[in-house]
């Protein structure tokens, strides 16, 4: 009985320490600027939604609504433009790195079975299932 307990404990211990001895890869952080832009985009969208709600509820005059809305829209435009420029260049190395790691892991586990490569969100870098249509974190459409 007590041997069984010791063995379970030992197995558990091995399981915890095991990842330390695995030959593994490192992850690459998402570039700060991209995250910042994504956040700014979210903020502008949130602001526009709130503004429209406030206006519908009669909390601000039409004049105020129009001026504020225009400024938000142009801000949104600016952010989107910057995001487009950033995305392609900075993200590639990270995605490359992650896919390589995942490919290795999956191949080891299930040989022969269909390989499910994850899809990375171009917006926030979250891993999503291959069949996912939208990113589970930020809701951006995945292709």
């Amino acid at each position: 009985m007590s041997y069984l307990a010791y063995l379970t404990g030992l197995a558990f211990l091995v399981w915890i320490v095991m990842p330390l001895f695995k030959k593994d890869s490192t992850w690459v952080s998402l570039h700060m600027e991209v995250e910042e832009l994504a956040e700014r985009k979210q903020r502008v969208y949130g602001n526009i939604a709130d503004l429209e709600f406030d206006f519908a509820m009669g909390r601000l005059s039409e004049k105020d609504f129009k001026t504020i809305r225009t400024s938000f829209l142009s801000e949104a435009g600016r952010v989107m433009e910057k995001l487009e420029n950033q995305k392609s260049s900075k993200l590639m190395d990270r995605i490359q790195n992650d896919i390589e790691y995942l490919g290795k892991k999956k191949k080891k586990k299930k040989k022969g079975s269909k390989i499910q490569t994850a899809v990375f969100c171009t917006e926030c870098g979250t891993e999503n299932l291959a069949k996912a249509k939208f990113c589970m974190k930020c809701g951006k459409g995945l292709s």
């Binding site: 307990a5 558990f12 399981w15 915890i16 320490v17 095991m18 990842p19 330390l20 001895f21 695995k22 593994d24 890869s25 490192t26 992850w27 690459v28 952080s29 998402l30 700060m32 995250e35 910042e36 956040e39 700014r40 979210q42 903020r43 969208y45 949130g46 602001n47 526009i48 939604a49 709130d50 503004l51 429209e52 406030d54 206006f55 519908a56 509820m57 009669g58 909390r59 601000l60 005059s61 105020d64 504020i68 790691y101 979250t126 891993e127 974190k137 809701g139």
Partner: protein
């Protein structure tokens, strides 16, 4: 079983140290293997602690009185149910519960984020594991619940088994006691998650709103548990302590209120950061303060530096907590200072009459409330330090400050949500506030006509009325607009509307709950009471009620003996109820206990206490309180819980597409 429990608990220490170190290493090297090991460490800590808790439960249920904790908190005659919950009845066991909840939360966080937030997670796990290290030191080395009983025999210490235990403190033998401590603990401990993410954000420099979004549900859950836990504590005091009230500004009550105040402030101020990119430092500070105040609350309960009805006896943990607390403060403040340049606001305040300015004043008031409560609670310590006299400030001092602050906050609850972001024109203000203000005025006039003269109560009722009106209008107006656009019927429109923005409408629900609770608080202005010495057949009055003492009975079971008074309650010569206040004497603990009887309606509680025997033993002394609106406090807390749950539902998305 005790040895096994001890070994398991002992393992928590190396496991949490391992987790903290590998997590830190993972953060520096960004190696996946290290992070995975840290994650498994968190799972292991959870497993080990869970088994230790089960071991203690086994000892409690089987009444193993060779264990000190079991012997001091249970006895043979105790019902099984109370034996189980005795896990958190005493100091050592409740500390184990605390530790257990920390490990549960760490495991959950580790699992939730196993595929994401790789940059933050190492430091998140590091912070949580460090908390575990601290608590494992406490429960293994200082307050070990598996400690065996010792007795001196001649010159040697020998283990022995007590014949029977001392039993559970009678004050704790009540159903509310069972859920109150764990709920409050979850509230306390939950604050570690947002704190860990905030610290991780500070260390990694990812200072955007990412950590806020990730921890939104945690912050909200914690807040809800804390709120419900505080009210349950009040409920417990109300039915169990027998002094007719539920809140006395007792140090331990205050200690639970403090983190609630700061986290309420935080839930509001994050909205400014989300919409305007301002108050980044402030939000960090609030999250850090909430966590540290939670630790401080635990410290206050156990250190014996202030005396309180709720506190555990002086447990010798004071210095350990003081060290941990000061380390936490130094560490977080240093980090904040180090990052202060990166936390610059993106925008500026635009107008005094705007939503953000409403939030700003809300935060100022919450901050002042926190400082005031902290000051009042610690005043005995502060005054002794500076004057040598230990001076306690009483409930009137707290009321003097907190009633105005509370009412100002309540007023903001009504005003704030009706202000638009950035800029609100005066004209729209008139439209939004005209009718509600007029309505409250009429209410005040009516109440004055009925003879109500208490200024604070009048103000409170007027503000409550105003706020409730604005909240109802928000729902109705929103539903009407939606109805017009979508063609749904009114109720469907209201449901869809609130499901599409659960955070906003859950928030309104919580605001409404606060209004209901404030009506309950205001009832205190009209409390009345009487005391009488009665024998069988005697009667006395309180307000419109007449009470007839019919019978005094004595009874006994294996757990306690009791003395019960049957009291007929008449209003306008009509029998309403028979209330039976009781006094018990528990054998195991040799402690008497008062069982109050409460006749409760929406309008008022009639609260009867059997406070003692007269000298000759033929008569009993009975105390009757008449407390208006107390039920509103419990109902409000219930609505608050519902509102919190609602705010946590994911937003419903419509296929038509929209901003989000």
């Amino acid at each position: 079983m005790a040895d096994l429990g001890n070994i398991l608990l002992f393992f928590l220490f190396p496991v949490s140290v391992f987790t903290a170190l590998t997590a830190l290493a993972a953060g520096v090297t960004k190696r996946r293997g290290l992070l995975e090991a840290a994650r498994r460490g968190a799972y292991a800590a959870f497993a080990v602690t869970t088994l230790a808790v089960l071991a203690l439960e086994y000892l409690l249920v089987t009444s193993d009185f060779s264990i000190e904790y079991v012997a001091s908190n249970t006895n043979f005659a105790l019902p099984l149910f109370y034996k189980i919950v005795a896990l958190w009845a005493g100091h050592n066991g409740s500390l184990l519960l605390w530790t257990w909840i920390v490990t549960i939360f760490s495991a959950i966080v580790a699992y939730q984020h196993r595929h994401k937030n790789n940059d933050l997670m190492p430091y998140v796990l590091f912070v949580m594991a460090s908390t575990m290290v601290f608590f494992s030191i406490l429960s293994v080395f200082i307050s070990n619940p598996f400690q065996t009983l010792y007795q001196e025999f001649g010159n040697t210490l020998q283990e022995f088994t007590a014949r029977d235990g001392h039993g559970l403190n009678p004050l704790l033998q009540h159903p509310a006691m069972i859920i109150h401590p764990p709920i409050l603990f979850i509230g306390y401990v939950g604050s570690v998650v947002p704190f860990a993410f905030a610290i991780a954000a500070l260390i990694t420099g990812k200072l955007g709103a990412g950590w806020i979004h990730t921890t939104r549900r945690w912050a909200l859950t914690t807040w809800g548990f804390l709120a419900v836990g505080i009210v349950l504590g009040g409920k417990w005091a109300y039915v169990e302590l027998g002094w007719g009230g539920y809140w006395a500004w007792d140090p331990v009550e205050n200690a639970s209120l403090l983190p609630w105040l700061t986290s309420t402030a935080y839930l509001h101020s994050v909205m400014i950061q989300e919409r305007k990119g301002m108050l980044k430092i402030w939000n960090m500070a609030l999250v850090i303060a909430t966590y540290l105040l939670s630790i401080f609350g635990t410290f206050l309960t156990r250190s014996g530096i202030v005396s309180s009805v709720h506190a555990f006896a002086n447990s010798g943990l004071g210095p350990a907590f003081a060290i941990f607390l000061s380390m936490g403060i130094i560490f977080s403040v240093t980090l904040l200072l180090y990052r202060r340049k990166d936390l610059k606001p993106d925008e500026e305040m635009e107008s005094l009459v705007s939503r953000e300015s409403g939030f700003l004043f809300n935060n100022l008031l919450f901050l002042l409330a926190t400082i005031a409560v902290l000051w009042g609670t610690m005043f005995p310590v502060i005054s002794e330090l500076f004057t040598g006299d230990q001076i306690t400030v009483g409930p009137p001092w707290f009321n003097n400050i907190m009633i105005p602050i509370g009412l100002a906050l309540l007023l903001l609850t009504g005003v704030g949500p009706l202000l638009a972001w950035r800029h609100t024109s005066v004209e729209t203000l008139k439209r939004s506030f005209g009718w509600p203000i007029l309505g409250s005025f009429i209410l005040v006039v009516v109440l004055l006509a009925f003879g109500m003269r208490d200024g604070w109560a009048l103000g409170s009722f007027a503000i409550s009325f105003f706020v409730m009106w604005t909240i109802v209008v928000e729902f109705v107006k929103g539903a009407n607009i939606r109805k017009k656009n979508s063609g749904e019927n009114f109720l469907v429109a209201m449901y869809m509307l609130s499901r599409k923005n659960t955070r906003r409408y859950g928030g309104y629900l919580i605001h409404a709950a606060m209004v209901v609770m404030f009506i309950g608080f205001t009832g205190n202005a009209f409390n009345s009471e009487t005391r009488a010495e009665v024998g069988e057949g005697d009667s006395f009055d309180l307000g419109p009620y007449t009470f007839n003492a019919i019978k005094i009975t004595e009874d006994q079971n294996e757990n306690y003996s009791s003395q019960t008074l049957e009291l007929e309650m008449y209003r306008n010569d009509r029998l309403i109820d028979v209330i039976t206040p009781e006094k018990r004497f528990y054998f195991a603990s040799e402690q008497p206990s008062t069982e109050v009887d409460i006749y409760s309606t929406f309008r008022e509680d009639i609260y009867a206490v059997l406070s003692g025997m007269s000298n000759d033993g033929t008569k009993v002394i009975v105390q009757v309180y008449r407390n208006p609106f107390v039920t509103m406090v419990w109902i409000g807390a219930f609505i608050l819980g519902i509102g919190t749950l609602f705010a946590m539902l994911p937003n419903l998305r419509e296929s038509k597409g929209g901003a989000e």
